[in-house]
């Protein structure tokens, strides 16, 4: 969340900004020859070309991540933001591209042009070139500014080595052009060195002209080739379509995240996810309002979400929603996959269901229920009258009902659950967990036991009604807007702790079953399952699992709360996951202990061999999907038997 003192920083920034504004405005006016130019602080986008709006979050981000002098940082950041916000490029494919007419016929904007001519990563090279030259030509006129920038970039320079190879290259190319720092590339990997040296040769012959973008595009194509040859970029032809898409998406996120750390963030370019914004013109500006709305919706959803209190007093937010119903679209292929998996893993569902049913039935507890409309008059009426407990005058033994059970199944929806193990053709962790959950759900369903099933993870939240395209669009929009508006605090808002219900206690299992099976289909066949659908509109938001982690204890506490609110006597919480929590093991243990203390049987069903699950009193672990049902039957049976013993012992 936002750091407590950030509000103060913001007001200091506003004060300082007002002091420097006249001088910087005038400086920009004379540099650009535009006397109407004006700079202001604000969060909305500039409405006319003469107005440069500086987002205070960019300044907050800058001063909170740097140890340099406050005033100088504000000057540097304001000028930096202004430099990169001043120019909107008027790029017209027909007029500005002379050498690529054939290849670019029918394309509508520069993004498509770069994609076609330089591949999916061309836009990043192109934008770094523009960013670097814009900055270089402005700053070289001002020694003071140049020395401020030198100090700022020096601070983050060491981080370049921690970046992915392509990002290291982009950062070095920026430094090569801007020349704030003397960069020694000898300590970088050989392929990065070679790429930088080869690009330097091209750059030394290149003269930047913002009116001749075709030359920048040509340079981009050549540099992208250098990166490919030197293996800084993956050769996408080696991958399937689905895999290509995954690689691209993860690299897109990664480039934005990493460049944001080593370059001064600017709200109009790649560092905040707004790649090519200055080139996409009006279209880009219109979409900003939409992006802003996406961000506002996202942030307000977090604000109105559940607050989870861990036993040690820690507080966090958790968003609960339903699993997107677009997973329904995978039902037809999913049911086949499901049956194939049962066969492949030798899982005889119905037989084992019969083995465990009796234990559930025996484990039902009877209690006396009372009330004016319940049963016969009690023999203790005088006593009860005297004590004023009139409602107890009528009572009877509770009717035997399976509603005295409540079962909650939590399934780990982190990205690792979808990873293939070494040497395997298909991933199986999530499929196994879902089938295990399905097995338990099936028993509950048949026995008319109240149960709920949820997938949990920590990632960017998917909405119930959206498809993959919408999800990705929203994800990129929220990412860029959060970076722009919240600066270094963006990460606190972007990923949320999510609890996706497949079925809530009150829902009908039958109605939710299709999307559950659809999820099994995706968990096994990943992107290929989506590619089999006729229209991309039908694609469920499969990226919701991408790079997802989990903080198990938060979701356990949320389920615990729901179980405790449920009017049942016997409560069971099963967590199916493949490993460690992103939180702390002590928090996980205290959450499990808390649930147990309130009479909930918590079972940890470990999938794979990454974790130990020792925090779970009742645990089982499978290293092969074939062991799944056997383990689940055994542990559930053990718990039920123990409960029967305890209740009969007490009686």
């Amino acid at each position: 969340m936002m750091k407590p003192n950030d509000k103060n920083i913001e007001s200091e920034i506003v004060l300082e900004f007002e002091k420097i504004r006249p001088a910087i405005t005038r400086l920009l006016q004379s540099q650009t020859g535009n006397k109407e130019l004006n700079i202001n602080l604000g969060k909305s986008k500039n409405i006319n070309t003469n107005e440069i709006i500086i987002n205070p979050s960019i300044l907050v981000n800058s001063v909170t991540t740097s140890k340099l002098d406050f005033k100088e940082l504000i000057i540097g950041t304001v000028v930096h933001e202004a430099i990169h916000s001043m120019q909107d490029y008027n790029f017209e494919i027909d007029k500005d591209l002379k050498n690529y007419v054939e290849e670019t016929t029918g394309l509508s904007n520069i993004e498509e042009v770069l994609e076609v001519l330089a591949g999916p990563f061309g836009k990043y090279v192109f934008e770094i070139l523009i960013h670097s030259y814009e900055e270089y030509y402005f700053v070289k006129e001002f020694q003071g500014l140049s020395s401020i920038f030198e100090d700022v970039y020096k601070e983050s320079f060491n981080q370049i080595k921690n970046l992915k190879a392509f990002n290291q290259f982009l950062s070095l190319m920026f430094h090569n052009i801007t020349a704030y720092l003397q960069v020694d590339i000898s300590s970088y990997n050989k392929n990065i060195q070679t790429s930088v040296i080869e690009s330097e040769k091209l750059l030394s012959k290149f003269t930047y002209d913002s009116n001749n973008l075709e030359e920048v595009i040509e340079l981009t194509i050549q540099i992208i080739d250098i990166c490919r040859v030197n293996k800084l970029l993956p050769d996408l032809r080696e991958y399937s379509l689905g895999e290509q898409r995954e690689i691209l998406e993860s690299m897109d996120d990664n480039i934005v995240d990493e460049l944001n750390k080593v370059l001064i963030p600017s709200s109009t370019n790649v560092t905040t996810g707004n790649t090519l914004e200055k080139f996409l013109g009006e279209k880009g500006k219109q979409s900003d309002d939409e992006k802003l709305n996406f961000m506002d919706d996202h942030v307000s959803k977090i604000g109105s979400s559940e607050t989870v209190y861990l036993p040690n007093g820690k507080v966090s937010k958790l968003v609960n929603t339903n699993l997107p119903h677009t997973f329904n679209n995978l039902y037809t292929s999913g049911i086949k996959t499901y049956n194939n998996l049962l066969q492949e893993w030798n899982l005889p569902v119905h037989e084992v269901t019969n083995k465990i049913k009796p234990y559930f039935i025996h484990n039902q507890k009877r209690q006396r229920i009372s009330g004016y409309d319940q049963g016969d008059l009690s023999p203790h009426v005088p006593l009860l009258l005297a004590s004023g407990r009139y409602e107890r005058m009528f009572e009877q033994k509770q009717r035997l009902s399976n509603k005295s059970y409540a079962v909650s199944l939590l399934i780990d929806g982190s990205g690792s659950m979808l990873e293939k193990k070494k040497g395997e053709v298909y991933p199986w962790s999530l499929s196994a967990a879902l089938i295990g959950a399905n097995y338990l759900s099936q028993i509950c369903h048949e026995l008319n036991v109240d149960f709920e099933v949820a997938i949990f993870n920590r990632a960017f939240l998917a909405n119930e009604n959206e498809n993959e395209e919408m999800y990705l669009k929203r994800k990129m929009a929220v990412s860029s807007m959060l970076n722009t508006n919240y600066g270094s605090n963006a990460e606190f808002y972007f990923n949320t702790t999510n609890h996706y219900f497949v079925k809530r206690f009150g829902d009908s299992w039958k109605n939710q079953y299709e999307k559950f099976i659809g999820l099994i289909e995706f968990s096994r066949n990943l992107r290929s399952s989506l590619d089999a659908l006729t229209s991309t509109d039908e694609h469920p938001p499969a990226s919701m699992f991408e790079r997802g982690t989990n903080v198990d204890e938060r979701n356990i506490m949320f389920s615990t709360k729901r179980l405790l609110e449920h009017g049942s006597n016997t409560k069971l919480l099963a967590v199916l996951s493949d490993g460690m929590t992103r939180g702390t093991l002590s928090d996980l243990k205290s959450s499990i202990d808390y649930s147990s203390r309130f009479g909930i049987d918590v079972i940890g069903i470990g999938i794979g061999d990454r974790g130990t699950w020792k925090e779970y009193q009742n645990r089982t672990q499978i290293s092969r999907p074939e062991e799944l049902i056997h383990s689940i039957v055994n542990i559930t049976k053990d718990i039920l038997i123990r409960n029967v013993k305890e209740s009969s012992g007490a009686a």
Binding site: K19, P22, K35, Q143, G144, L145
Partner: protein, 328 residues
């Protein structure tokens, strides 16, 4: 008669004009001789002096002094308007009369009045005493009426007939003085805008019509480089470039019409080419002589409301000065 050559600093042309030779027989020879300014060896003509020389030549030679033409230089403080006229006089060896037309100046001060004197035998005698302008007009001279737009109306009207085709100044005692062909009248004025030039006003239209008004802007980068090269040829370029950049940026702010971004304190030529070099010499042993100079020789002259602006531009343009011992 010796001639002086004026070269066009922005081109290849030149113009030559005869020097003034004072007739020793004239009554106020000594007084006029004293008024010939000395040539400033460090003066650099940025173009204004050349233009003034050309107009003198044109007036004398092409139009045979038939057309009354008087040049007024308009520019902010510290742009060197008066210095241009003074150095033109110096080069051409003309007596130079700088007469400020501030609001306090009355027509009698300019033109003269009858004053009473003791006659030495117990009585008094009344005598006409020339005013400053009258005195100047009685012989060859360069008259610089500075602060034209601060002059009161009575002064303006007194000057009208001198400046137009009549070329005559009528004195209160009835005497009429004709403008000599070897007397040149110039004027200087500050621009009337939102700037704080106390006492100035928009020039009376009839009065303005009697002048050709030329703008004298703050010197450009190249002009300042030329000045530094001439005055401080040994000063390292690292210093020169930063000083020039600072002054250009600050004066750009000063002349800006946009009241939300302009300032009230310009960096005058005096600050740029005199105070700063003195400061550099004063703090030459400091690790950052330019910063010390800035703090001690520039900032104390700046209006308090302009300090943030000055400091922001300092940080943007210089931040830390060269760690060199300035050579002056």
């Amino acid at each position: 008669m010796a001639k002086q050559l004026f070269k066009d600093p922005n081109g290849k042309d030149n113009v030559s004009i005869e020097e003034c030779v004072l007739d020793k027989k004239i009554e106020d020879f000594e007084s006029r001789l004293e008024r010939i300014p000395t040539v400033d060896e460090n003066y650099v003509d940025l173009g204004t002096q050349y233009k003034l020389a050309k107009i003198i030549k044109s007036k004398k030679e092409t139009f045979d002094n038939e057309i009354p033409i008087h040049i007024a230089l308009k520019g902010h403080m510290g742009t060197g308007k008066d210095h241009d006229i003074e150095q033109l006089a110096a080069k051409l060896k003309f007596p130079y009369y700088r007469i400020p037309l501030s609001g306090e100046v009355r027509d009698v001060t300019l033109l003269g009045s009858v004053q009473l004197y003791g006659d030495g035998i117990g009585g008094t005698d009344s005598k006409w005493q020339d005013g400053e302008l009258t005195r100047a007009l009685r012989g060859p001279s360069f008259v610089n009426l500075s602060e034209l737009n601060a002059a009161g109306p009575e002064v303006l009207f007194a000057l009208h007939s001198l400046l137009d085709r009549h070329k005559k100044l009528e004195l209160p005692n009835g005497e009429v003085i004709e403008l000599r062909n070897d007397t040149f009248i110039f004027g200087t004025m500050n621009p009337t805008s939102l700037r704080d030039y106390a006492g100035t006003q928009t020039l009376n239209k009839a009065f303005a019509d009697r002048w050709v008004i030329w703008d004298k802007p703050f010197p450009s980068k190249e002009q300042l480089e030329a000045i530094f090269k001439k005055r401080y040829p040994n000063l390292q370029n690292e210093f020169v470039q930063l000083i020039i950049k600072l002054s250009i940026e600050i004066n750009n702010s000063f002349v800006s019409d946009d009241i939300s971004v302009n300032i009230e304190t310009p960096m005058s030529l005096r600050t740029i080419v005199e105070r700063i070099p003195v400061g550099l010499d004063l703090y030459k042993n400091s690790s950052d002589p330019l910063m010390e100079t800035w703090k001690n020789m520039v900032i104390p002259h700046v209006n308090s409301e302009d300090i943030d602006h000055y400091n922001t531009l300092w940080n943007t343009v210089v931040r830390s000065g060269p760690n060199l011992k300035p050579k002056l």
